[in-house]
């Protein structure tokens, strides 16, 4: 009994230490990023131990320079953010348009090859991007889609579709089939069932799936690097930031400001969707 008590007490304390350490480890880099983005590089070099900048040395000059267009001596991030937003929104809309009916069909309808289609959707989850990157890159060059945002949108669908199908299908499976059957008896067809019943019922999941697709597309780096390196006016934020870093001498505090601009939209969206997102992604995790 005393062993039980002793272990319980030790683990109880250990638990709080673990939580505290994990919190610091996960949050600190983001806070550091934020703080360093408001500092002049000279101040950082003078005092690398600085954690909280003096109010006197806080500057928003970093953000002004990062966002201003090239012609005004800035780094053009306003443009890059617009590009990222266009690509991510386009990929998300197309993904939802394609995956909602497909997920519905896979979770509900008996059609020829259903099990094989279902297995395929799972298999594409594991397809390595670096392997499809080579031919997509080459193929799009040949087709003339290489240096365009459209090419990127299409390529991003390959990344967003597997996880979207997974999340939507899991959710659709939880909507009782009897609702569909009742609607069928009342004379509705499948498309009416999807648009009038399934989509409204699944709206929270659809929103979080869409947000997740948006995140994937917004965060993506490899395809942007392969497709758009040569076209500076089409760079996404991720690409712009890395080009900024290895091109010219750009101070790290300016890079931190760019990183904050890249991260903030994602954190805001994630704040709205966190719950639904975790639930959607991990649905069925306990079933193994």
């Amino acid at each position: 009994m005393s062993i039980v008590r002793a272990q319980e007490r030790t683990l109880g304390i250990l638990r709080w230490i673990v939580i505290a350490v994990l919190l610091v480890v996960t949050v600190f880099p983001f806070l550091y990023m934020l703080m360093m983005s408001f500092v002049r590089i000279e101040d950082l070099l003078r005092n690398p131990l600085m954690l909280i900048p003096d109010l006197g040395s806080v500057t928003v000059e970093t953000y002004r320079r990062v966002l201003a267009p090239l012609e005004e001596g800035g780094y053009g991030f306003g443009r890059f953010m617009a590009n990222s937003a266009i690509v991510a929104t386009g990929a998300t809309l197309l993904t939802m348009l394609l995956t909602i009916p497909a997920s519905y069909a896979v979770s509900r309808l008996r059609f020829f090859g259903r099990r094989r289609v279902s297995a395929l959707f799972l298999a594409v989850y594991l397809f390595p991007t670096i392997i499809i990157a080579v031919p997509i890159f080459v193929g799009f060059q040949v087709l003339g889609l290489g240096g365009s945002l459209w090419g990127l949108v299409i390529a991003y669908i390959a990344l967003t579709v597997p996880v979207s199908v997974h999340m939507l299908r899991n959710y659709f499976a939880t909507i009782p089939e009897s609702i569909d059957e009742a609607a069928l008896v009342d004379g509705a067809n499948r498309w009416q069932i999807i648009t009038r019943i399934t989509i409204p019922l699944a709206m929270p999941t659809i929103m979080s799936t869409a947000l997740y697709s948006f995140m994937i597309a917004w965060n993506e780096f490899l395809f942007a690097l392969l497709f758009l390196s040569a076209k500076q006016d089409l760079w996404t934020v991720s690409l712009g930031l890395t080009r900024l870093a290895d091109g010219q001498e750009v101070s790290k505090t300016i890079l931190m400001a760019g990183s904050v601009l890249l991260t903030v939209p994602i954190v805001v969206l994630y704040g709205f969707a966190e719950r639904a997102l975790t639930e959607g992604l991990t649905a069925g995790a306990d079933k193994g």
Binding site: I3, V4, Q7, L11, V18, I19, L22, L23, T26, V27, P29, F30, M33, L44, L45, P48, L98, P101, A102, A105, L109, F111, F112, V117, L122, L126, P128, T129, I130, I131, I132, V134, V138, G139, V142, A155, I157, V165, N170, R190, M215, N219, L222, L241, K252, M256, L262, I266, G271, E274, T278, E279, L281, T282, A283, G284, A285, D286, K287, G288
Partner: protein, 312 residues
């Protein structure tokens, strides 16, 4: 349409229309997605395979399309090049280290947050940040934090902990590889945490309560009751993380560019593709990697998966 007639033969006429319609609707709904998946995933994979047998550079492909002479040379080059085997070894170390690291840390986090406490939801949400944040941004923060001249870690190390010299974490072997593994552990433990926390919530309470009554210590309860029930989830996570890390490109590329003993396979493929624009070599390299991965997957399925489960 053979399916419709096939179904019709087995079912009485009245059900034929319902099944027929369902079949048609199903195919129509799945069709567009299948076309897209074929175009952006299946065709590219097949094409990679074809390209890997060609002496292909951009100019050749622009001129001849698919029809270049076939050769085994790329494979010979890949398999006889010491760089390939070295990068494969690096990839395995990197993948195994990151997979184990992220799952262990994720498990620790899931256990620590298992019992309710005020603000647990907030803590959990915050802990997922490394996973959802853009890789480019987090890679830069780590670079700044670890920088030998002005990085906070080295400042703390030399001024407070008494290190003799600042450490170039990302620029020298062997610590570059360890740093990259640590980064990957940090970035993906939330993923494991998410799944394991969900699995923990799904566990039936009775068994554990019975163990408490029997006087089992907390550690015994974990080892004998909780952990075995988590094994399917852990196995699945291992599979997912292993495959995804094995092919990972951006993390290592952004942190080290593949220098200082961190040239993992995906970075090597990229270097061949962009650096020497040798598409054939890059493709052959990618195919060989995929082959290794498929073999590993088959072994995994053969030994660890008892029934056809849903790898969610």
């Amino acid at each position: 349409m053979t399916a419709t007639s096939h179904a019709a033969a087995r079912h009485p006429p009245r059900r034929r229309t319902i099944l027929g319609r369902e079949n048609r609707d199903g195919l129509v709904m799945v069709g567009p997605l299948l076309v897209i998946i074929t175009l952006v995933i299946i065709v590219p994979i097949a094409w990679t395979f074809v390209l890997s047998f060609q002496e292909a550079r951009y100019s050749d492909i622009a001129r001849n399309g698919l029809f270049n002479a076939l050769t085994l040379e790329n494979y010979l080059d890949v398999l006889t090049s010491p760089g390939f085997w070295k990068s494969l070894g690096t990839t395995v170390v990197y993948t195994a280290g990151s997979t184990i690291g992220s799952i262990v840390l994720g498990l620790v986090a899931a256990l620590a947050l298992r019992r309710r406490f005020p603000a647990r939801g907030l803590v959990r949400a915050v802990m997922l940040l490394p996973y959802v944040a853009p890789v480019v941004a987090v890679a830069f923060v780590w670079e700044v934090l670890l920088n030998p001249q002005y990085g906070l870690v080295n400042a703390v190390g030399t001024r407070i902990l008494g290190w003799e010299h600042p450490v170039d974490f990302l620029g020298t072997a062997p610590q570059a590889l360890w740093t990259v593994i640590l980064f990957e552990t940090w970035r993906y433990f939330p993923f494991a945490f998410m799944f394991l926390a969900a699995a923990l919530t799904g566990l039936p309470r009775e068994v554990e309560e019975a163990a408490v009554v029997d006087g089992a210590t907390p550690l015994q309860r974990f080892r004998l009751v909780v952990l075995p029930q988590l094994m399917p989830t852990i196995a699945l996570l291992t599979l997912l993380r292993f495959v995804m890390t094995f092919n990972k490109f951006d993390d290592v590329y952004l942190l080290t560019g593949g220098a200082a003993g961190t040239q993992v396979a995906a970075v090597r493929v990229y270097d061949q593709l962009v650096g020497s624009s040798d598409i054939g070599a890059a493709s052959a390299n990618a195919v060989v990697l995929a082959a290794f991965l498929v073999i590993a997957l088959l072994l995994y399925l053969r030994f660890f998966v008892r029934r056809e489960g849903n790898p969610s």
